[in-house]
Amino acid sequence: MVKRRPAILVLEDGRTFQGEAYGSVGETFGEAVFNTGMTGYQETLTDPSYHRQVVVQTAPHIGNTGVNGEDDESSRIWVAGYVVRDPARIGSNWRASGGLEDRLAAEGVVGIAGVDTRALTRHLRERGAMRVGISSVEEDPRALLARVRQAPEMVGADLSAEVTTAEPYVVKADGEHRFTVAALDLGIKRNVPRRLAARGVTTHVLPATSTIDDLLATGADAVFFSPGPGDPATADGPVALAREVLNRRIPLFGICFGSQILGRALGFGTYKLGYGHRGINQPVLDRSTGKVEVTSHNHGFAVAWPGREQELSAVQVPGAGSGAVVPDQVIDTEFGGVEVSHVCLNDNVVEGLRAKDVPAFTVQYHPEAAAGPHDADYLFDRFAELIEGRALGQGRSEGRALYRNQSEGGN
């Protein structure tokens, strides 16, 4: 209710919103995306996958519980800009160590408050994610629009190098050590090694440019491909690395960006969704059990339905699949049979892949949650079982010509 300095938000199609400065005063650009979670703004802000994105929070009150020393998902805030309706004047929580706005200001995050975030969200839903600028120093929307249109687009963006760890580090298993996992950091969240550690896994987090030898040098029993920002079509390095891992039949698990990497390594396409999935209420069907899990999502790209790209993946249409049209078959790849293991029930987007003949599976969403529900936590158990070699024996099948297309290389 206190008056703040005015700020403007301009989308690349020219739509302009007036608001007030929030966080740092200044100007920022990025891809406008909306997140529908009602909790977890601290995790969202510190999730590297939001690098170069301006996040619109649909929840009207942000900052109510302040910030604390435990809920960061990385070492810093990554969002390029922050759009909220009603920022809290105080944070109230027994774990709070400070207020959100102070933290945003301290990290130089330019935000805007007082925006009709629902109108903005509806616009993005109808027109798709697009570039945006926020400024509390520029008063002329046209001037800002010109700069928005010069900002880089998300399609074709290779961002792994900007978010990955500079040096390898190790997250030890809780209690008794069972396995070692080499995790390729493409923008990893802290809760991934934590969920692994809870299962006796020691995780070696490695820079995005690591080679297969770097991975193997950790003595890893398995490899993990992390979530992260950017267009998977640019991730040739990680894709090639994934193929090396598949070739070696090393158990592989990937999340989000990591899932898109596997998709590409298997020869599938990836594409940009209209406006993406960002929230913590997304229903995903585990096709192996027929059960629905409520999951945390943060992805603007997805793996195209193998063989049905045009039909099912061209646009993001709610109810596009509605179950019946979803193909239920095993797709042949150079690494053997692969099935779509998980789908989003809202729009039939591919949410998980499982290889039948090599020990690899991935999901497009976030079983590590943070923020979000823990329904998909079982996937870390599946990973542990896969490593343990108890996973249905599929990974050990020798029947397929695993190397048949090796010479053709990746995408």
Binding site: M1, M38, T39, G40, I90, S92, A119, I280, N346
Partner: protein
């Protein structure tokens, strides 16, 4: 998993009368269930004794039994209908308890009836305190909690007072006492002292049907949360909604201000609640359906304690459904017949499945509505026993917007912060002191404390733990107020900010007197083009397109109202339930929607009107987004209604249509009626009876003149604005007199006064008397028969008598609290002719276009008009059910121009005859009121007086219907209070003037084998008439041994007959101890002579044991055939 094919016939159990803790939310859920089941091709039978429910409209089930929800009657229904299954989870605790009783009695097994939606084990695990504790510990262990015992308050189940005392010796005071198997927290409370403990635990043991209470560690002041969950038979679980209580632990959630979604949890903490909720749900074993779990969270360290769960649809799930757009009851019904969540489409997006968790981009606030003014002497402190009688919900794009809207939805004298002056002498210190006791309107006290300089920390401490975030939000309003007051002019920027914060024009007017009140603020606002926009409740924060126009206002950028060229009708609802204005009015509003959607709207004649519902009561059917074409969840204030009308009218006209062609104000009770004149003056097309005609009926002078002109009798009366004037009138017309403020509903502030001293006291208390609001002083007709009439009148002046009801209690008892019969059982044909003549004259004289309710008194064969109300009355649903004629539907059509002749031709009204010409063999319907006395206690813990008078006190009603009066009355008693006794001891103490009239009924009871115990005076008279009776002293008479009060409290009495002794104030106090003892002991207590006579007939019917049940469909078919 497709639906089960073996379920062809399901019996749905409703929740019976509206009582505190169980209100019309179960009509909402039950109606949804019936709709769903029938649309699946399943035969639906229904039992519900509440005639004011939509679900008991004959078209919602195949066989509708308006019969008592007791094992005895439900078994009769089962035997007759032979359903495959019973669905008991949508009818509140009443339905669930009845199902458990039927199971335990072997009835379900005997008839091969399956329980669906819940199983007995799960019900027991959820409701049995000790079992539930074990469940929580198991769930916690499974989730990896190191010490799962921290997840429940330390506690013990006790079955005797000795056990209670032992336990408290270990836990220390304070402790919480919770009886098992009671609803709405009845009988529970917190004991701070040993005396509290003895009293509350004693009552709790008595209130629990299994004589069991839980004594537990106090979590007073902790943060309180609820989750609403749903599970399908494939074990998919979703959390539909989180709800946070602004009032911390210690206040029943039904009495708390609550917010959705939770506002002060980090994701980690929220997910811990979610994990626990799901684990508990699975462990309890709720197979399918909805479930509600309550948690307490220690604000200091985050320790979570699971408080309780309800394995059924609840009041909170109705709130959650309205708050999120996720229809819990509807989905629960589908899950019960075998669907899974992913097979059910999301109702609002239609394209995404119901297997998801709604996410909100707005804030929802619910505020309870209390009625302490109706129960003088009742302790108004809020505790763990629910005392509120209704609630309002509001939605806004931020907390303060929602809060301010909810506060002005209350329709109390105060319409939000600053709308009434602070109490005289308010200081920071005494305001903080007042915060220590939870009370109705505590947020007003919070705001005042902050404004008077208290810090957030001080207020948090004084209020026993209201979260600082909420307090800071209110502090923000206090700062905004200072800015508004200090600003040289209220400019557009500041006004916009004030509206965004949710302040009403009225609140702003209070701060800026120069703006010439609310109208001035509105004029300024409209000149500056500051108007609300309307957002949509869509379950998904705009991620997907919504197809359902379920709107709420906000001062934001973009409106989502879609223009429509159809002619629109706005129907104004009745706001929060309160005593005197409850579900009956919502029923009429829903009927208007149904009738107008189907009606020819004129012109092209294609399709009906587009109906637009405006209401703020989350419990109701009217606020189901499936009911009207469009729903606006808005306060029913002039400002909010005017803006909705403007939005609909302009968008309709912009789309090339006529816009809003009518606004219906006469069906939602006094609330919309009170807006009629202002709306009309603002250019809104109010249809039906005109505001001028409404005024004619409500303004006593004009109405008196009308009666005189028509030659109709009415008790002499006068208008007074001072004691002297009142006394002069009383002297002229003679005592007793009936005094009351003008323009009231439910007899608010109405008293029968027998002498000058009482009259002086009454005028002294009525502080808001003014020349605009005089007090009415009427001659009171002692020992008259009261008659209630609901009638329709059209523009041609044709009158249709809907029904003539004869009250069982004599005049002087508020009509809402009296039982009555339809058709009348003692009135002669000449009386009915007179009633018809009077009603026609009044309807035409006023110019009624729609419904009219008239109350008459018949004394010594002379008919007097007591009052006329040109609107839908409380009895409309009862009359409609008893006569098979949908009066409210007809009223809505008449308001839009139809004539009675046309409606007869259409078949909406019978071709010939009316409710005044019922066939001789028509079934007798008895309406009985349900009173909430046992929910209240005085501050010292005694029961409150159950004496009836001219001020309405009942919360709900039931209907008993049968071929004769005795059976119908017995059913009504079974439905309202539990069955009349068929044997045992009856305690009698009657006033001298009633002794003669009481002899026959008491003699009859003695002949029927009852043992009679009487007080001295009564006993003497009875003996002289040869009635054997035992004599007992009154509690204040000296003597040895048991007195009347201790005997009643001792539980050895089956029925109390007590009529007030003497007259005036002493009448109130004499039998008080006796009546309150009956309330405490939960024994039927009859306080009038006619009531006693009716009870005798009912008891005879029960003793004969020939009770039968018949569905309404059958009764109505017979009625129609006879017409």
């Amino acid at each position: 998993m497709p639906k089960r094919s073996d379920l062809k016939h399901i019996l749905v159990i409703g929740s019976g009368p509206i009582v505190i803790g169980q209100a019309c939310e179960f009509d909402y859920s039950g109606t949804q269930a019936c709709r769903v089941l029938r649309s699946e091709g399943i035969r639906v039978s229904l039992v519900n004794s509440n005639p004011a429910t939509i679900m008991t409209d004959p078209e919602f089930a195949d066989a509708t039994y308006v019969e008592p929800i007791t094992p005895e009657f439900v078994e009769l229904v089962i035997a007759k209908e032979r359903p495959d299954a019973i669905l008991p989870t949508l009818g509140g605790q009443t339905a669930l308890n009845t199902a458990v009783a039927l199971h335990e009695a072997g009835v379900l097994e005997k008839y091969g009836v399956e329980l669906i939606g819940a199983n007995i084990d799960a019900i027991n695990r959820g409701e049995d305190r000790q079992l539930f504790k074990d469940i929580v510990a198991k769930a916690g262990a499974r989730l990896g909690y190191e010490d799962p015992s921290t997840l429940v308050p330390r506690s013990r189940v006790c079955h005797s007072m000795d056990e209670v005392r032992e336990t408290v010796a270990e836990l220390g005071l304070p402790v919480v006492i919770r009886p098992s198997f009671t609803m709405g927290g009845l009988g529970s409370g917190m004991a701070h002292t040993q005396e509290d403990l003895e009293r509350i635990a004693g009552d709790g043991l008595a209130a629990s049907p299994v004589h069991e209470v839980l004594i537990e560690e106090s979590v007073l002041g902790w943060k309180e949360y609820e989750l609403e969950l749903m599970r399908d038979r494939h074990d998919n679980v979703v959390v539909v909604c989180s709800i946070e209580n602004v009032d911390p632990m210690g206040v029943h959630t039904g009495d708390s201000v609550t917010v959705a979604p939770a506002m002060t949890l980090t994701d980690r903490e929220y997910q811990r609640l979610r994990d626990l909720g799901i684990a508990v749900l699975r462990e309890v074993g709720v197979d399918t359906g909805g479930c509600n779990i309550q948690f307490a969270v220690n604000p200091a360290d985050g320790r979570i304690v699971v408080i309780e769960m309800n394995p059924r649809v609840s009041r909170s799930s109705a709130l959650a459904s309205k708050a999120t757009g996720f229809p819990i009851a509807k989905i629960a019904a589908k899950l019960a017949i075998g669907y899974t969540l992913d097979e059910i489409p999301n109702d609002i997006t239609l394209k995404t499945p119901a297997a998801f968790e709604p996410t909100l981009d707005y804030v929802v606030v619910k505020i309870p509505r209390f009625a302490f003014e109706k129960f003088p002497g009742a302790d108004a402190e809020l505790t763990t026993t629910m005392k509120s009688v209704g609630e309002a919900m509001s939605l806004g794009r931020n907390f303060t917007e929602a809060l301010n809207k909810a506060m002005r939805s209350m329709e109390t004298k105060a319409g939000g912060f600053w709308s009434v002056p602070d109490p005289v002498g308010a200081t920071k210190e005494n305001t903080l002191a007042a915060l220590r006791t939870p009370h109705d309107g505590r947020l007003y006290t919070v705001e005042r404390a902050l404004r008077l300089g208290a810090s957030i920390a001080e207020v948090a401490a004084a209020s026993g733990g209201i979260d600082p975030w909420f307090l800071d939000q209110i502090a923000g309003l206090v700062e905004l107020r200072a800015e508004i007051v200090a600003a040289p002019v209220l400019d557009a920027e500041l006004l916009r900010r004030a509206k965004r914060a949710g302040l009403s024009d009225r609140q702003l007017a209070a701060l800026r007197p120069e703006l010439a009140a609310e109208d001035g603020v509105r004029t300024l606002r409209h000149r500056l083009d500051i108007r609300p926009v309307y957002k949509t409740v869509d379950t998904c924060a705009a991620e997907f397109e919504a197809t359902t126009p379920y709107h709420y206002s906000s001062y934001d950028l973009e409106t989502e109202v879609v223009g429509s060229a159809r002619p629109k009708v706005l129907i104004l609802g009745s706001g929060p339930n309160r005593i005197g204005q409850g579900i009956e009015f919502d029923y009429s509003c829903v009927h208007a929607v149904q009738a107008l959607r189907a009606a020819p709207a004129g012109g092209a004649g294609t399709g009906g009107y587009e109906t637009v519902m405006v209401n703020c009561n989350p419990e109701t059917v009217s606020t189901d987004y499936d009911t009207a074409d469009r729903l606006y969840f808005e306060p029913l204030t002039f400002e909010d209604v005017l803006e909705v009308w403007h939005a609909e009218d302009t968008s309709g006209k912009a789309a090339g249509g006529p816009g809003v062609v009518g606004v219906i104000v006469q069906l939602g009770g006094q609330t919309p009626l009170g807006l009629a004149q202002r709306l009309k003056d603002a250019g809104v097309p109010v249809v039906g009876t005109s505001p001028e005609s409404i005024h004619l009926a409500e303004e006593r002078g004009a109405f008196g003149a009308l009666l005189t002109r028509a030659g109709l009798r009415a008790p002499s009366y006068g208008l007074a604005t001072s004691y002297d004037e009142a006394k002069a009138i009383a002297d002229e017309i003679g005592y007793p007199v009936l005094v009351r403020p003008s323009y009231v509903l439910g007899g608010r502030g109405m008293e029968i006064v027998y002498d000058d001293a009482t009259l002086r006291g009454y005028i002294g208390r009525a502080t808001d008397i003014s020349p605009d609001h005089p007090v009415l002083v009427d001659r009171f007709l002692d020992d008259a028969v009261e008659i209630d009439v609901d009638a329709l009148c059209d523009a041609d002046g044709e009158v249709y008598l809907g029904g003539v009801m004869e009250h069982i209690e004599e005049a002087g008892i508020h009509s809402g609290d009296s039982s009555c019969t339809l058709p009348p059982i003692t009135l002669a044909g000449s009386h009915l002719a007179e009633v018809r003549r009077y009603t026609e004259s009044i309807a035409r004289g006023i110019g009624v276009r729609g419904l009219l309710n008239v109350q008459y008194a018949l004394k010594d064969d002379v008919l007097y008009v007591l009052e006329a109300n040109p609107r839908a009355s409380r009895t409309v649903p009862f009359v409609s059910k008893a006569t098979a004629v949908p009066l409210a539907k007809a009223a809505a059509r008449i308001a839009l121009g139809a004539t009675i002749a046309e409606l007869r031709a259409e078949g909406l009204l019978p071709e010939t005859g009316d409710g005044g010409t019922m066939p001789a063999d028509a079934p007798i319907a008895v309406k009985e009121a349900v009173l909430p006395f046992k929910r209240f206690r005085t501050p010292t813990g005694k029961g409150i007086d159950s004496l009836l008078g001219p001020e309405m006190k009942s919360t709900g009603e039931v209907m008993g219907i049968d071929t004769n009066f005795g059976h119908a009355f017995a059913k009504s008693q079974s439905a309202a209070y539990g069955s009349l006794p068929t044997g045992g001891r009856i305690f009698v103490s009657v006033a001298n003037r009633d002794k003669r009239a009481m002899i026959f009924p008491i003699k009859r009871l003695a002949d029927l084998g009852f043992e009679i115990v009487a007080t001295t005076g009564t006993a003497e008279v009875l003996r002289r008439h040869g009635i054997a009776c035992e004599q007992i002293r009154k509690h204040y008479e000296a003597g040895e041994g048991e007195d009347a009060v201790s005997m009643i409290l001792g539980g050895d009495v089956a029925l109390v007959l007590n009529t007030p002794q003497g007259s005036g104030a002493s009448a109130r106090s004499d039998g008080y101890e006796i009546r309150s003892a009956a309330v405490t002991a939960d024994i039927p207590c009859i306080t009038t002579v006619p009531g006693a006579a009716a009870a005798v007939m009912g008891i005879e019917a029960r003793i004969r044991g020939d009770m039968r049940v018949r569905p309404l469909q059958e009764l109505h078919a017979a009625l129609r055939a006879a017409q």
